[in-house]
């Protein structure tokens, strides 16, 4: 019984990490209907950026992540403004193929710059620290990850529904042309959205790199988990994305408990099962 509860809690907390992967993806899709196939690789890029700041400036990982935030925002902003904006339109091929190409470019750029060696972001004692809660002990880092995911989702919801910028996001997502009649410049709004998504990606990168080894090629797998979480949750719902992440995390953790080789497989199986049962996800947006 203890083992079951332990596995469950671990799975839920892992779901927090997946929700962080997914939140950026969900934000961009919500604002401009764009799915960035390079999203996972951008998270990995952010992880290498944090690592570089740590080694170059001898910083604490959390401080390094803080410094990485505006850098990644700028990267996302420019990427959207100069490259991805050109792919938006009725044809589905350009955004998919350009972001796919981007994924390959980022992976191989990182390979050239950092080699294929596995890396880790060391958080010192926090790595193994844990809190005893009743019969189980909860890792501090996983808990921090989950709480960060919740904080990010609360923050994004606040942004979307209680600020002028969020109004502009929603209006532009509804109707680009009429939004421009309000003085909104869609191209810039999209760039801001991608910049914010990169901020979320950086937070995800910190926890990704602290939790496990990473190398330039792990991006696509993160993309798949993120995507699965978004789809399970239902397009347009950030809390749904958290729920989706938790479902994937729990499925994976139970899979690993049964047989280590089954971890990833069970995550995919859970995804397929949910999708077959509820094609629009758990909390679909009514107007989609």
């Amino acid at each position: 019984m203890v083992s079951f509860a332990d596995t469950l809690v671990q799975g839920v907390l892992l779901g927090g990490l997946y929700a962080l992967f997914a939140a950026g993806l969900s934000l961009i899709f919500g604002v401009m209907r764009l799915v960035n196939l390079a999203h996972g690789d951008l998270i990995v890029l952010a992880a290498f950026l944090i690592l570089s700041l740590i080694t170059a400036l001898g910083l604490n990982p959390f401080v390094a992540a803080l410094i990485a935030l505006p850098i990644m925002f700028a990267l996302g902003f420019v990427l959207q403004l100069q490259v991805l904006n050109r792919t938006l339109g009725p044809d589905i091929l350009p955004p998919l193929l350009v972001t796919f190409g981007l994924s390959i470019v980022i992976q191989n750029g990182l390979l050239e710059a950092f080699s294929a060696d596995s890396r880790r972001i060391s958080v010192g004692l926090l790595e193994t620290a844990s809190l005893p809660v009743g019969p189980i002990s909860i890792g501090v880092m996983p808990l921090l990850t989950f709480l960060s995911a919740v904080a990010v989702i609360v923050g994004l919801n606040h942004l979307f529904y209680r600020t002028e910028l969020g109004r502009a996001f929603r209006a532009t997502s509804d109707d680009k042309v009429t939004a421009s009649l309000m003085g909104i410049r869609p191209e810039r709004i999209f760039a801001v959205a991608t910049g914010i998504a990169m901020i979320v990606a950086t937070i995800a990168a910190l926890y990704l790199g602290a939790r496990a080894n990473f190398d330039p090629t792990i991006g696509p797998a993160r993309l798949i988990y993120a995507f699965e979480a978004v789809i399970i949750g239902g397009l347009g719902s950030l809390w749904g994305t958290l729920a989706g992440g938790v479902i994937i995390g729990v499925a994976q953790t139970f899979g690993a408990a049964i047989n280590p080789e089954w971890q990833i497989l069970l995550g995919h199986v859970a995804f397929i099962a949910v999708l077959l049962a509820m094609p629009r996800g758990l909390f679909p947006r009514p107007t989609d």
């Binding site: 002028e164 109004r167 502009a168 929603r170 209006a171 997502s173 509804d174 109707d175 042309v177 009429t178 939004a179 421009s180 009649l181 309000m182 003085g183 909104i184 410049r185 107007t287």
Partner: protein, 234 residues
Amino acid sequence: MALLEIHGLTARYGEFQALFGVDMTLEPGETIAIVGANGAGKSTLMRSIAGVLSNADEQIVFEGRRIGALPAADVMALGIAMVPEGRRLFPSLSVEENLLIGRYGRQAPGPWSLKTVYELFPVLKERRTAPAITLSGGQQQMTAIGRALMSNPRILLCDEVSLGLAPVVIRDMYAIFPRLRETGASVVIVEQDIGQALKVADRVYCMMEGRVTLSGSPASLTREAIHAAYFGAS
């Protein structure tokens, strides 16, 4: 110098030419009406002024400044706000949020604010948190007009505000135009329904197939002349 001057405006949709050299002026404080049948080019004209369509720079002049090629967001910031054809409220936004977004690109001093817009259209205040698209047609139209007013524009463009509304609702809607005039606003109204337009306008332009076929003050134009200009000489 007129507030807005349009010189030989041409516009195309791909290979199809919609406007063939339109000339028009708008003086400060004036309300002008543009009438014509479907396809006459009225909406194209409005969208050209608003910047949704791009035209040659010098064809549209606002307070002496050439704005023909400016994009919509820039035109709006200068003070030309449009109530688009079909209302085009944002479904993801509530009534109040739709009003607030009208101020996004331009926050200028003037008579219009959330408070005064609610005074103009009290029913909107009651439904302020409702999703804008759950309102009736007439209420949505009010929201769209209020949204455009929120930026305290120098020129208000109203594209077919009576479309799809019942006559009694249209009458109430048109009652606001004299009140706008009192605040010194300059207004361009596009209408298929000539009756209401003639009642509120200082001057009328009639269009057919992309050209201005008649213009003048309502008093100076005979019904026959308007009929001919609207439908073409029989």
